[in-house]
Symmetry: C2
Subunit: 318 residues, 2 copies
């Protein structure tokens, strides 16, 4: 038997509430009005059990939150405004209904907080583990999306928030040290905020020349930005805002900060002629380096300089 699709649709209809201009779940397609003068932004992200999350490590609500967060963070990284989300969800037959309910609650709470309508999707019975794929549709004024490809030599490199906290919490969870994680760190890991407001302000004020979200780890995401822009980068190790973590609120080490993924902060570049505030929408913004000619990335500190290698975040893979 299929998932009871009608019941699922009814539950989502009940919870989601469709915004004006959106015709949603229960038709062949959802139809969404894009604001006048805007173009559509679309992003899709898998959340696969055993790849992007491990069911035993976390309750279902933060997994649902993160599923949608991944899409919202991509919209933020373009300076966009999210409009609607679409969830494709395949569930194994033996999964308790409570898991699905909690997963949806986590996802829909985040959707409501950012006025995003869950407007459609697909359901199936999974032949194996839990499979989710989230699509977020947003919009941005025509020609104003902040791309990865706009960085120029001389531009400064900035990040929002602090780095490495999520990876450090996750490492402790994977080691079975959950009880040693302060609730402050666990909450921050479980419910990160998409930086939509920061992205929107950077776009409105034409501050950023290029932007990407930090989901795979800053070193990897910066390398993507450099590749798309055809430039290199020099990071000042001493300037990197490292997350404070654990009972003693110690700063995480530089490698956790630069290679750890899942922080969902933004990394952007801005021309040296722009004055970038140190706080945007209440989020700290820190200059961590600059864009240079060439192709490589360098990590410099007060006494030495070394090659910065993108160490891709690989979720739960070994």
């Amino acid at each position: 038997m299929l998932l009871p699709e009608k019941a699922f649709i009814r539950r989502i209809r009940l919870h989601a509430g469709l915004a004006a201009g959106i015709i949603g779940i229960g038709d062949d397609c959802a139809s969404v009005r894009i604001p006048a003068g805007h173009e559509a932004l679309i992003t899709t992200d898998f959340s696969l059990e055993g790849v992007h999350f491990v069911r035993k490590l976390q309750p279902a609500a933060p997994i649902g939150h993160r599923c949608l967060l991944r899409g919202l963070s991509d919209i933020a990284a373009m300076g966009g405004i999210p409009l609607a989300a679409f969830l494709s969800l395949a569930l194994p037959g033996r999964l308790p209904q409570a898991w699905t309910d909690e997963f949806l609650r986590g996802l829909l709470d985040l959707a409501r907080a950012f006025k995003v309508t869950l407007a459609g999707g697909d359901t199936a019975k999974s032949p194996g583990k839990i499979l989710a794929d989230i699509v977020v549709l947003g919009s941005v004024p025509k020609g104003k999306a902040i791309l990865r490809s706009g960085a120029k030599p001389g531009d400064r490199i900035y990040v929002t928030g602090s780095l490495g906290g999520a990876a450090t919490t996750l490492r402790m969870l994977l080691k079975g040290q959950k009880r040693n994680i302060p609730s402050e760190d666990l909450d921050k890991y479980s419910y990160p905020t998409p930086r939509l407001e920061v992205g929107r302000i950077l776009r409105e004020k034409s501050l950023a020349s290029a932007m990407i979200d930090i989901s795979d780890g800053p070193s990897t995401d910066l390398s993507h930005l450099c590749q798309e822009s055809g430039v290199g980068a020099e990071i000042n190790a001493d300037a990197v805002p490292r997350a404070r973590h654990g009972k003693l609120r110690r700063e995480v080490d530089i490698h956790s900060a630069l290679d750890g993924g899942e922080d969902y902060e933004l990394l952007f570049t801005a021309s040296g002629s722009k004055r970038v505030p140190t706080l945007i929408a209440n989020v700290p913004v820190t200059e961590i380096g600059r864009i240079v000619r060439g192709r490589g990335m360098v990590l410099a500190s007060h006494n030495k300089s070394q090659k910065l290698i993108p160490k891709g975040w690989e979720h739960f893979r070994k």
Copy 2:
């Protein structure tokens, strides 16, 4: 290790070719310009190994074709115009590269035929079987989408093409009788045409009051349309266009025609006052019944009348 994502992106960039107004793969989001006066249409559809396809039964190219077809058919059923597609693809580590290449070839050939740009997606290593999720973004003039909810008592019910051919071919494939299937039937099963042209003409001429695509089987899809419209239906069994199949080109039985899925034809309703052509965009269109008050569905033939039960297509489930 992850799928070699860069290689995948490069391959898609090479094959896909981005249309004007679309910024695609390689950024946080794709950005797509929706034509002036149009609204966006979005649909998402899983293609899961073991649920929607069985790898041993078919080469990879028709599986890729069908993956995109599922989305295009949903756009057709709204009277829409497809613009861009987004593919999320999770592949098991041991899958031969040739399978992926052929899957993409089937998908991209169909995309090109209907001027749809593959503009983004996500990739992951699958913890189990092959998982694909296709998103199609299209557009339709504002307020002109043909919904499932517009059918009224007295409206006539129509279908495009002939019904039950796909289910009959699939049944033979599942029984290991591939060599008994004429190549004509196998080709038709492997590469169905999305009825985009028919959908567009029905919308432009304001002929259809409601529409749905036949992917789950006519009895099930008609029941969805009736439910969304709050009406019942009477089907004339003798009028149903049954597919001709096999070496003797015999018509399939009425149950295969009404319950078999995957035909990807359109089912629509039109007011009795409209003159619906018997051929639209070279596709036969047949009147098969009418919409009635109430909630049930009836199957009537010259000598008897019985309840029509939606017998949902359940892909490869028992």
